[in-house]
């Protein structure tokens, strides 16, 4: 997992022949490229970014390549202005497995499209090998990082990267685009030095883009952990929702039969079967009993009756008379019960109504208190004394209330009062849900009583009819009793079936819930132990570099790497505003090179490449990079590459670099764009 630049070449065709610039890097290690300011250093770095199809790091504009005029329209050469006819950039790259490719992208061209990148499967620039194969890939269009012909799909594979999917503020997940990661490897002069990851393509609308990129480069587990946790949370939610649906449905359907389901928790529980076991209760006109008991009782009675022939009226007369009397008695008592139930229900409903009203009033008061806080702000803007609890006329202390000032107890402060109201609201909400539960129970028993009343009235009619019909007829009362019993059995069976079906569904859900909950349990903490040691190493490297480079805005040992954002923080705040410009540069060096140092000992996705285009002179004048160069020379031993573009003058540089192992490329006194030999 590494990337080494072998050669960068900008080619410009003009009427005066071929111009351009060529940067050859011998091997890994520290490379110093020296050229005067405004000579084209930035063009080189920007062209590299452009060649890799990463210009979203520089601009959101898709039309014009974000490069200097020198490669787009015209440049100066020996006091002559030369027009650019065509231009292109080529880069030769080598990955960790020693594969070499050359990529080419047109900047200005009448024939080649700028969203095409050609890739040769070998070192086209450093060896004149003609037997190379070319493939074309596209960039800067949809799918460039996902489809097989997208250049970034190709590049990610070449780098050995598997890009994680990240979520956006809108729309579906996308891969973590390379444009989000490269700001940790390539710092260009114009915008790169205002902070760590200062040039992020925010227009991709990726959530926590900076954090995701650092996580990826350091190969932290935290992202996987966060993603797993998010996925589990969604699964748990879905189980809860399905559970609630099953419960609501079974309750509603049982309600239609006048039955009540008990002991089913409204939200999923770990543990199956449920304890206490769920139960279905039916109302027989006097009492609630479990549906199993009721079914047995009714079936027994039916069996008893079936055993004997349906009696004739004359045979049955005394029994029917008895039954009629009993039914009338039960009807009378049930009517009383119904009236009482009605009354109770009304009382409860009015209670319920007043609780609701109370909650409404409390909520209005709470709203008024929110307003009050704003009013207090206005009041203090205008220097009103009541805001500070003083009388505007006599300057004496006053109670913060418009009741008579001598009134008994002092009023609560705003905060206390708001807390008080919130407490009241929650207390009344509890009362409300309790009252709702009671009401629901009442309604159910009323439904059951009503059904039983109807049944009794029908029975009474049937008994009466029986007693007045011809004596030889079958007793209608006896027939009716059988029918009622059968209907009841049917109802009870339906209700039992309902409960069984619901319990089957809930059992499956409970097992799912248990599985997800235990998976969630195992996901403790936001980072793994490995993450922690990487972050520790980063912090150590970061702080020791700051000390080495003479960071002075704050004491370096007070800085740490945030375990939340993975960026350097001071007392919990992102480092930035409180730094001098030169310390900001030291911070960026230390952080980016720190990532590289961590990559030497830990398994990361770091490319082992760092390209730094020195900040403009006025910011950098006090920053000596001698110490940085000394430290960065260590890259060579581990095959990493640090390319530093600077405009320091030659003498200063050579004294700074004395004894430092490096490759030195110097454009002496010239513009970097010069006639290019083939």
């Amino acid at each position: 997992m590494s990337l080494r630049l072998r050669q960068i070449e900008i080619r410009i065709s003009t009427l005066r022949g071929r111009f351009g610039t060529r940067l050859h890097f011998d091997s890994s290690g520290l490379v110093i490229v020296r050229a005067k300011n405004t000579s084209g250093k930035s063009t080189c770095v920007q062209s590299l970014i452009y060649a890799l199809g990463l210009e979203a790091m520089l601009t959101v504009n898709q039309q014009v390549p974000p490069l200097q005029y020198a490669v787009l329209s015209r440049f100066q050469y020996k006091n002559e202005e030369i027009r650019v006819d065509e231009s292109e950039v080529l880069v030769e790259l080598e990955n960790g497995s020693g594969e070499i490719i050359t990529i080419q992208r047109a900047i200005v061209s009448s024939t080649k499209k700028t969203n095409l990148i050609s890739v040769w499967n070998g070192p086209m620039l450093t060896q004149k090998d003609t037997n190379l194969e070319r493939s074309d890939y596209f960039v800067r269009v949809e799918g460039a990082a996902q489809r097989p012909l997208g250049f970034h799909t190709f590049l990610a594979a070449f780098l050995g990267w598997k890009l994680p999917a990240v979520s956006r503020f809108d729309g579906p997940d996308v891969p973590l685009y390379l444009e989000c990661i490269f700001p940790l490897f390539v710092i260009e002069q114009k915008h790169g030095w205002s902070g760590i990851q200062s040039r992020m393509p925010t227009h991709f609308r990726i959530r926590e883009m900076g954090k995701r990129a650092i996580e990826f480069v350091l190969k932290l587990d935290s992202y996987r952990i966060a993603a797993d946790r998010q996925r589990l949370r969604e699964q748990l939610n879905s189980v809860s929702n399905r559970w609630e649906r099953v419960v609501t449905e079974v309750n509603a359907r049982a309600g239609a039969f006048g039955a009540v389901i008990r002991n089913i928790p409204p939200t999923p529980r770990v543990g199956w079967p449920l304890v206490p076991p769920p139960q279905c209760l039916v109302f027989d006109g006097k009492e609630w009993e479990s549906v199993q008991l009721a079914t047995t009782r009714v079936s027994d009675r039916l069996r008893e009756l079936s055993a004997i022939e349906v009696p004739t009226i004359s045979e049955d007369a005394s029994r029917v008379t008895e039954a009629l009397r009993a039914a009338q008695k039960e009807l009378a008592s049930l009517e009383v019960a119904m009236a009482r139930a009605n009354q109770d229900n009304e009382v409860e409903e009015s209670q319920n109504g007043s609780i609701r009203e109370r909650i409404r009033a409390l909520e209005a008061d709470l709203q008024n208190y929110q307003d009050l806080k704003r009013l207090r702000d206005i009041g203090s803007d205008l220097n009103l004394s009541v805001v500070t609890g003083r009388c505007p006329t006599c300057e004496q202390e006053i109670n913060d209330v418009l009741l008579p000032q001598a009134a008994a107890a002092p009023p609560m402060s705003f905060e206390e009062n708001i807390k008080f109201i919130a407490g009241q609201i929650s207390a009344f909400s509890t009362m409300l849900s309790d009252s709702e539960r009671v009401l629901e129970g009442r309604r159910r028993s009323m439904t059951a009583i009503r059904a039983r009343l109807q049944e009794l009235r029908a029975s009474i009619r049937a008994y009466r009819q029986a007693l007045t019909s011809p004596e030889k007829n079958a007793s209608a009362g006896a027939v009716r009793e059988r029918m009622v019993l059968e209907a009841n059995i049917h109802t009870y069976e339906s209700v039992s079936d309902l409960l069984d079906t619901a319990l089957d569904a809930l059992g499956t859900l409970a097992r799912e819930y248990e599985e997800y909950s235990s998976a969630m349990e195992q996901l403790k903490g936001d980072t793994s132990g490995q993450d922690e040691s990487k972050l520790q190493a980063l912090q150590l490297s970061f702080v020791s570099q700051l000390k080495q480079y003479g960071f002075s805005s704050l004491s370096p040992s007070l800085l740490r790497i945030s375990r939340d954002t993975f960026r350097p923080v001071y007392e919990g705040f992102d480092l930035g505003f409180n730094l001098s410009a030169s310390d900001m540069i030291r911070t960026i060096w230390s952080y980016l090179y720190g990532l590289m140092e961590v990559a030497r000992t830990a398994d990361t996705n770091h490319l082992g490449l760092l390209v730094l285009d020195e900040p403009r002179q006025q910011q950098a004048d006090k920053v000596s990079f001698a110490e940085f160069a000394r430290r960065a020379a260590g890259a060579k031993a581990v095959g990493q590459q640090v390319i530093f573009l600077t405009s320091e003058d030659h003498e200063t540089l050579s004294s700074m670099l004395a004894g430092v192992d490096h490759q030195y490329i110097d454009f002496v006194g010239e513009k970097m764009i010069q006639p290019l030999g083939i």
Binding site: P392, D400, L403, A409, P410
Partner: protein
């Protein structure tokens, strides 16, 4: 064993909760808002009482609208004269947000500044502002007096 009741104790006076509408800032603000809505940024004390009563509850707001429109239901509207309004008025005048002269109350420049800051706070006193705005830009004394004469009948 020690008698659990025989222990030393103190009474601590706990602060009491107060309705937000009884706080000076709230009442002063509603007073200024009302004055601002009245013609010429001034009103009589009685007018302020009526309007502040109307401002406080949804029922009162509705009754007020009915009176202005001239179709009051017989069982509606009992204006309450609230001493809290007078105290708020005293504070407001102490803060130089209003000036009183006999029965008349005038909004001062500082008071107007308060109202303008309040208007900028879109989330603040939404219901009250909406109600006052629904009454039309400037309430006239005649309109409010209609209410008071009706009371006297």
């Amino acid at each position: 064993m020690q008698d659990p009741l025989n222990v030393p104790f103190d009474f601590v006076r706990r602060p009491t909760p107060v309705l937000a509408t009884l706080r000076p800032e709230w009442r002063i603000a509603s007073l200024l808002l009302t004055l601002y809505q009245c013609w010429g940024n001034r009103a009589t004390r009685r007018q302020l009482h009526v309007l502040n009563w109307a401002l406080r509850t949804p029922e009162a707001r509705q009754a007020f609208v009915h009176v202005i429109a001239g179709n009051l239901r017989p069982d509606e509207a009992i204006v309450r004269f609230d001493p809290v309004v007078d105290r708020a008025l005293q504070f407001a005048s102490g803060e130089l947000l209003v000036i009183t002269s006999g029965e008349m109350v005038f909004l001062t420049g500082k008071g107007e500044q308060f109202v303008k800051l309040l208007m900028k706070q879109k989330e603040c006193m939404v219901v009250e502002k909406k109600f006052l705005a629904s009454l039309g830009r400037k309430l006239t004394q005649v309109q409010v007096d209609a209410f008071l004469t009706l009371e006297a009948k």
